[in-house]
């Protein structure tokens, strides 16, 4: 029965007009039960059904907008990925036709695809872990009130709210080997021999205890940037959660002689875990698809060529829409597989805990 109602309302040409009539009845609820129902069917407009209709009517405009600006483009991407489409001839091309699997061949066969996927993964894991860890440390440090806490709390959100283009250029200049403050101070205070080109060094040799390591410097730098930019986000959520932890819990542990690390491990962390899990998923998704930060800092060079930047390159440098779409699709599928794995392994656990 619910089904038929849904269809009816869903397909209505002017859904927005309906709730008014429905709700008008709603107002005089007790007075005229079934008064709006001309047919003899028993209570065709119960409160639940009216609510159902109103709900569908209200959600329709939002669904339509999301459908037009999100769902349709995604579906079209899927189509494009299987078509031989270049930007020049796409104007005259029909929506269907020119089917091919070449795009995927081009994507999987193109040099550097697998390494790019690996880079994306490293970047995402590093930035997600970094931002949540720093956010957690910040939330713990700012938990107790102190003079100027409000001020610091506000200023700590600056990296998150400031425009990415502006802060990326600040980092670029500060890290510049020619006139950057970091290299200047590094040479003066830490005795660096040569200026370090943070954003254009693929691998940097470090000597530690007589051993030589190669570290992917440019990649680490963009991970640091991402950590810096998004730790306020994690901080906000974790602080809100921390402040909702009942005082009694910690007091009790304190009375029992638990040290701060023990209180954190056994009292606070279990309380924070659901939020941390949520943040991990959110940040992972966001970072995995991230384009701006790396494009602005390194342009995708020096071992930072994440997939999102490659999509852009396919699209704008080669005008190869089909390959760009295929590449984006592969990225989305990989993300979904990873999330699926995550929920398969941890989803149950989190549910059990909460």
């Amino acid at each position: 029965m619910t089904h038929s109602t849904t269809r009816e309302t869903d397909g209505a040409p002017q859904p927005a007009g309906r709730p008014e009539a429905d709700a008008a009845g709603d107002g005089r609820d007790g007075g005229r039960p079934g008064g709006t129902a001309p047919r003899g069917r028993r209570g065709p407009l119960t409160a639940a059904r009216r609510e159902n209709r109103a709900g569908l009517a209200f959600v329709t405009p939002t669904l339509v907008v999301v459908g037009v600006v999100v769902v349709l483009p995604i579906l079209w991407t899927v189509l494009l990925a299987f078509q031989d489409a270049r930007l020049v001839d796409i104007q005259g091309m029909g929506l269907l036709g020119n089917w091919t699997l070449d795009n995927f061949g081009a994507v999987f066969g193109s040099p550097g695809f697998w390494s790019s996927l690996w880079t994306t993964l490293l970047y995402t894991v590093g930035a997600t872990a970094g931002s949540i860890l720093l956010g957690l440390i910040a939330a713990l440090a700012l938990r107790e009130p102190f003079r100027g806490r409000g001020l610091l709390r506000g200023s700590m959100l600056l990296p998150y709210v400031a425009p990415v283009v502006a802060v990326a250029f600040v980092w670029e200049i500060a890290l510049s080997p020619q006139f950057g403050v970091i290299n200047e101070w590094g040479a003066e205070l830490l005795g660096w021999d040569d200026p370090v080109a943070f954003l254009s060094t693929r691998s940097y040799e470090v000597a530690l205890f007589g051993l030589h390591f190669e570290i992917p410097l440019a990649l680490l730098t963009v991970v640091a940037f991402e950590t810096w930019r998004y730790f306020p986000f994690a901080f906000l959520f974790l602080l809100a959660r921390l402040q909702a932890v009942p005082d009694g819990l910690e007091e009790a542990a304190k009375v029992d002689g638990a040290a701060p690390t023990q209180r954190f491990r056994h009292v606070l962390l279990p309380q924070l875990m659901p939020v941390i899990a949520l943040l991990c998923v959110l940040r992972f998704i966001m970072t995995f698809n991230k384009f701006d930060d790396i494009y602005l800092l390194t342009g995708g060079g020096s071992g930072t060529d994440v997939v999102a930047v490659r999509v852009y390159e396919f699209l704008t440098a080669r005008f190869d829409v089909g390959a760009a779409a295929a590449q984006a699709l592969v990225l989305a599928v990989v993300l979904m597989v990873l999330l699926g794995l995550y929920f398969a392994f941890f989803g149950k656990k989190v549910q059990e805990e909460s």
Binding site: P19, G27, A138
Partner: protein, 297 residues
């Protein structure tokens, strides 16, 4: 037992208590430095002449003799007078962002009200669907939107850009407003209904005024996302300099050869100030709007 404890001069708890007492201040100082220093550096370089920067890159202050605002002059002056035309770009950015706020709110308010208030067929799935939007990378949307807009001749138009921004902002807006709508007591709506208000009147006269703080916060958040957005501006507007937003203009400026770094920093300050001012004015509102619900999980 008690003997053993009194013999230990320094228990683990005491030791840690002191250690973290000190570490806490170290962390606080560190956080203050990493969040504020980049912005200080940005403002500092923007009021320095380029020679002073090149001569002594490590110096973190500016002498009164050097202090200059000519960088801002160059950035803000219209291109016809040899400047970079950032004033026009500020206008473009404001237009696209305000457009995005209005369009997104119009699209998101009914949906978030329905999801939070009304039980209807598929309601639970709908709210999950809105969040699933984030699973798809902006780059995935970028390709077809790029083609679509090229076809419709909307390429290079700010209206088109504002429409694209809806996709970026609708899910988070619904999430924020939904969390607020559920906190409004049901009984208030019921009494309005008893007084003869229709559903639409209830929303307009009761729910929306009560939710004003949340609407403000959501609007501001949308504004910030749109103002800071870069990828779509780059894709859609790159070919039409007269409709560049500030973010795009600044990035294009950086690609220019003859532009000094200090001018670039002045541009960054111009880009950053509106967002930061808005944020500081409404900080509490925003942070609460964003995290409401997080403390209940």
């Amino acid at each position: 037992m008690s003997d053993a404890r009194s013999q230990v001069p320094f228990s683990r708890a005491q030791f840690e208590e002191r250690l973290f007492g000190v570490l806490r201040w170290v962390v606080i100082a560190f956080l203050a430095v990493i969040t504020l220093a980049p912005f200080y550096y940005m403002v500092l370089l923007s009021v320095k002449p380029i020679d002073a920067l090149l001569l002594d890159p490590g110096r973190l202050w500016v002498s009164t003799k050097e202090f200059t605002l000519s960088t801002y002059e160059e950035v803000l002056k219209p291109t016809s007078e040899g400047g970079q035309g950032f004033l026009d770009m500020l206008y473009n950015s404001a237009l696209a962002s305000v457009g995005a706020v209005v369009l997104t709110m119009l699209a998101a308010i009914p949906g978030s009200y329905a999801v939070s208030r009304l039980r209807f067929f598929g309601g639970r799935h709908v709210s999950a669907l809105f969040l699933a939007v984030y699973l798809f990378p902006a780059t995935l949307l970028a390709v077809p939107l790029f083609v679509m807009f090229a076809r419709m001749g909307l390429q290079g138009s700010l209206v088109g850009l504002a429409i694209v921004y809806i996709a970026q902002t609708v899910p988070v807006s619904i999430y924020m407003m939904k969390n607020y709508f559920v906190t409004i007591p049901f009984s208030i709506e019921e009494s309005a209904a008893l007084d003869g208000c229709s559903r639409l009147q209830i929303i307009r006269k009761v729910v929306l005024p009560l939710a004003a703080p949340s609407l403000m916060a959501t609007g501001l958040y949308i504004f910030m996302i749109a103002w800071n957005e870069f990828l779509f501006a780059l894709l859609f507007l790159a070919a039409t300099p007269e409709s560049w937003t500030v973010s795009l203009g600044l990035q294009q400026l950086a690609n220019g050869v003859e532009v000094s770094k200090t001018v670039l920093m002045a541009g960054s300050v111009v880009l950053t100030i509106p967002v930061v001012v808005l944020f500081l004015a409404a900080e509490r509102l925003l942070t609460e709007g964003l995290t409401s619900g997080a403390d209940k999980s």
